[in-house]
Amino acid sequence: MEWSVLQQYGPSLLKGFGNTILCWALGTVFGMALGLVIALIQRYAPRWVTWIVQAYIEVIRGTPFLVQLFVLYYGGPLVGLRLDALPAGLLGLTIYGSPYFAEIFRSGFRAVPDGQIEAARAIGMSESDIVRRILLPLGLVSALPALVNFSIILTKETVILSIITVPELLYQVQRMSAETFRYVEANLVLALFFWGLVETISRVGLRLEARITKHLIERT
């Protein structure tokens, strides 16, 4: 092992890690937002709209992320969509994650007992109030573990962004390996960073879960 190269490459590795976190965080947030919109459309929109959305879900889930990125980054310009690597990567992650998040929200909504929705209807609450006050808060609670889980899966998808030259962690690690032939050290750094990130997310997720379900658990 030769750790001195790390001194030289430390800054660029850190920067790469920063980009990884950025892509992951924004990709997750936007992907969740899009997924939530899709789940609400699936629940409330007219039948023909839900079919279109369902087709989108099938296409995105049925193709590899890598292919989607290629189409977006290299195919985009052909239809006038010219994006830099980083924005293209973010958009790609958002699109890639959205159908999975949508499914998670959908089953979260399904876990809200019909009776609690009916109770709201029975006192004359509007559908939009029912969504905001009952369906979303309760649906989110049941969806939370799966949301955290898929966010963790997404951290690892960020490495694919290196293929369209987003300067994230894997990109920097590969550069360092190519220039110094220190493959083992470079990949250990990669593993270590990801382990730290995943560990942090799952801990925060567990805390969040404990906090928001505190009142919901039946006294025994």
């Binding site: 007992p113 009776g115 609690q116 009916e118 109770a119 709201a120 209807r121 029975a122 006192i123 004359g124 609450m125 509007s126 559908e127 109030d129 006050r133 009952i134 808060p137 309760l138 609670v141 009142h215 919901l216 658990i217 039946e218 006294r219």
Partner: protein, 257 residues
């Protein structure tokens, strides 16, 4: 005295696919009176009750609250969501499974409708919610979440949630069936108080004692038909219809030891 609604059901039919759950229901519910509905499981009691606030959409016939058709503007023309919500504001409903919102405290459960539907300020809503909770004997539980309450307490919160909206009609769908026997009394006693105040109540129940002592009329249902509506005495003590006799016989066998 409260302002109390009347309900008129005329030739109401309801289908689930090919299955007919309600057959030509004719029922008059006078204002300020208590109507109990009894009958075997699957006979359509819940379906009938839920047609009154249009949680269940009837397919033909008329359901009128104080003369106003609910659910439809004309046959086959659905009422707008806004109009339906307006009508529902004055109809309270209590469910077998309580259906409290678990992420809200007892007081928040009661205040929610006042804030979102009646558009009352948060402070006023809280005050009225506390009053409603006091009325059902739960003043000290207003900060508790449903998960910290017993079944009987949860059901009383659900009643408070309904009466805080100042309804003119209350629908109860087996309000005590999910409760342990020792908790049934506290819920029935709240309902008895409401009845005494002149609330129009429609109660689906298996509590024959309540029906006998509190109801002004009792309806017996079987296989989607409202077989008979009459005084509690004539339905529960001197039934003429063989179907009612056999239902009550089964009931008494099950409840004696």
């Amino acid at each position: 005295m409260l302002a109390a609604s009347s309900v008129e059901m005329r030739k109401v039919n309801k289908y689930y696919g090919k299955f007919q759950a309600l057959k030509d229901i004719e029922l008059s519910i006078p204002p300020g009176k208590v109507t109990c509905l009894i009958g075997p499981s699957g006979s359509g009691k819940s379906t009938l009750l839920r047609c009154i606030n249009f949680l269940e959409e009837y397919d033909s016939g008329e359901v009128r609250i104080d003369g106003q058709l609910i659910g439809y503007d004309a046959p086959n023309k659905k009422m707008s969501g806004r109009r339906l919500r307006e009508m529902r504001r004055s109809i309270g409903m209590v469910f077998q499974q309580f259906n409290l919102w678990p992420h809200m405290t007892a007081r928040e459960n009661v205040a929610e409708g006042l804030i979102r539907v009646r558009r009352i300020s948060k402070a006023d809503a809280d005050r009225r919610a506390s009053e409603a909770l006091a009325k059902v004997g739960l003043a000290d539980k207003s900060a508790s979440h449903p998960s910290r309450l017993s079944g009987g307490q949860q059901q009383r919160v659900a009643i408070a949630r309904a009466i805080a909206m100042e309804p003119k009609l209350m629908l109860f769908d087996e309000p005590t069936s999910a409760l342990d026997p020792e908790l049934v009394g506290e819920v029935l006693s709240v309902m008895r108080t409401l009845a005494g105040e002149g609330m129009t109540m429609v109660v689906v129940t298996h509590e024959m004692g309540f029906a006998a002592h509190v109801a002004d009329q009792v309806g017996f249902m079987e296989k989607g038909e409202l077989v008979s509506v009459d005084s509690p005495d004539r339905i529960l003590h001197r039934p003429e219809d063989a179907r009612i006799q056999s239902f009550l016989r089964t009931y008494h066998e099950r409840n004696s030891f």
